[in-house]
């Protein structure tokens, strides 16, 4: 276009790539990625905790990096590759090493923060920020667990990091 800006009316037609699949959406510009995932696409694995960027329950990956879906506009991630907890296991149902470690270490109680914890942990290990318990605690600090399962969460991240390194 001449003015080199893509303008929008009240409703946007978007294509989002989620877990390798293309999804077409008609939404208002203000709709967050979190609401688009849960309310429009019925991918309810991503949880809504605080809805204001403070708890980490809505953590997803955009182009492989962990971000908060509640502070991301759906419109902003058109053209990016989005991964949610539903896209983490293999096609045949084999769990990701982090998912398996959370089960083995009993790293949750009520489970509400767990999808966010797991998405965050996968990225934390990939970033190289799971080198010690201290580093895991620092780089997982954006995911709150009100049941207080933190010691088991750290154990699960440590175990998965060791498995993925070996």
């Amino acid at each position: 276009m001449n003015d080199q800006v893509t303008t929008s009316p009240t409703t946007l037609s978007l294509h989002l790539t989620i877990n390798g699949r293309d999804h077409a959406l008609e939404i208002e510009p203000r709709v967050t990625l979190l609401d688009a995932l849960r309310d429009r696409l019925h991918l309810t694995g991503t949880k809504k905790g605080c809805d204001q960027g403070q708890c980490g329950a809505c953590t997803v990956h955009v182009d492989g990096e962990r971000v908060l879906a509640c502070l991301t506009l759906a419109a902003q991630v058109e053209g990016r590759s989005i991964t949610t907890i539903e896209g983490l296991a293999d096609q045949d149902g084999t769990l990701n090493a982090v998912q398996a470690a959370f089960l083995e270490q009993d790293a949750f109680q009520c489970g509400y923060c767990t999808p966010g914890q797991i998405m965050s942990a996968v990225a934390c290990i990939r970033e190289g920020h799971a080198g010690s318990d201290e580093e895991i605690r620092e780089y997982m600090a954006g995911n709150l667990c009100r049941c207080g399962a933190y010691p088991h969460i750290v154990a699960a991240v440590r175990q998965a990091a060791q498995e993925l390194r070996s």
Partner: protein
Amino acid sequence: MRDFSYLRADNIEAARNAAALPGAMLLAGGTTLVDLAKCGVAEPATVIDISHIEGLAAIDVGADRAIIGALAKMSHVADHAGVKSLFPAVSEALWQAASAQLRNMATIGGNLMQRTRCPYFRDPQNFPACNKRAPGSGCSAIGGVTRGHAVLGTSEACIATYPGDLAIALVAFDAEVDLGGRKLKVEDFFLAPGATAEREHDIHPGEVITAIEIPGSAAARRSTYIKVRDRQSYEFAAASAAVGLELEGDGRTIRDIRVALGGVATRPWRARAVEDALKGKTLAEDTVRKASELAMQGAVDHGANHYKIALGPRVIARAILKLGATA
């Protein structure tokens, strides 16, 4: 959240043109804008998405200076090998800020535009009076719960604390912000509230931050950022200090020192009185502690934030002594 129209700018010229539209606000990482739109504080008519502009995320670090593109992510700058070795206080300020997820979203330019966390500012439904949101309406914080509020640079109009970490390090090392058409010191980019609390930055409609530039120095190479807070991680500073130190060949006389404070002032706060008191002096704990007290000249508390007047100098002294011990 009030609805808005959405524009995606493909290049910086388009962003500048769109940013000049009435009611337009720029969207980069979204961690401030989307949050404040949900609180009812930001009510953009148009959101200009600049996050897809190419070529604005480069991190170029040399011994003489670092140039960091406005769209570089906080996490990428924090983990950059050149930043870690030549500007350690910058890396430390970044990785101690927010959470890993927020640092993957938030950009360096957006970080400079971060707004205060003053709970009264963030809650228009319950606290209509706020000179930052509605000039002339008053300040709900004065006379309210002030534990997190500023003790330096306040006015009768506003006592909101500047919440960021990165800018504290930038101010200590004389960094500049590049607005395309003009460059200015980061220190001058942030405005004290005075009688115009609604103006926090020296930026005009149609201007877009393109980069920040940090001059290299011996003090920047030997620098640190110490952040003291109510919990160990993922929390704003109760008080923080960015300090850089250069010693003479004797290993104990201070040739150059840079000191800036966070968490205690209305804007990133350079403590030149502390620097002047220490230049040419021998590095010793007594001298450092006494000089650090000078950072609080002119401090005014509002009761619950009185502790910051004692805490600020201790954080500065801890940072200087830590650097002195790692010769």
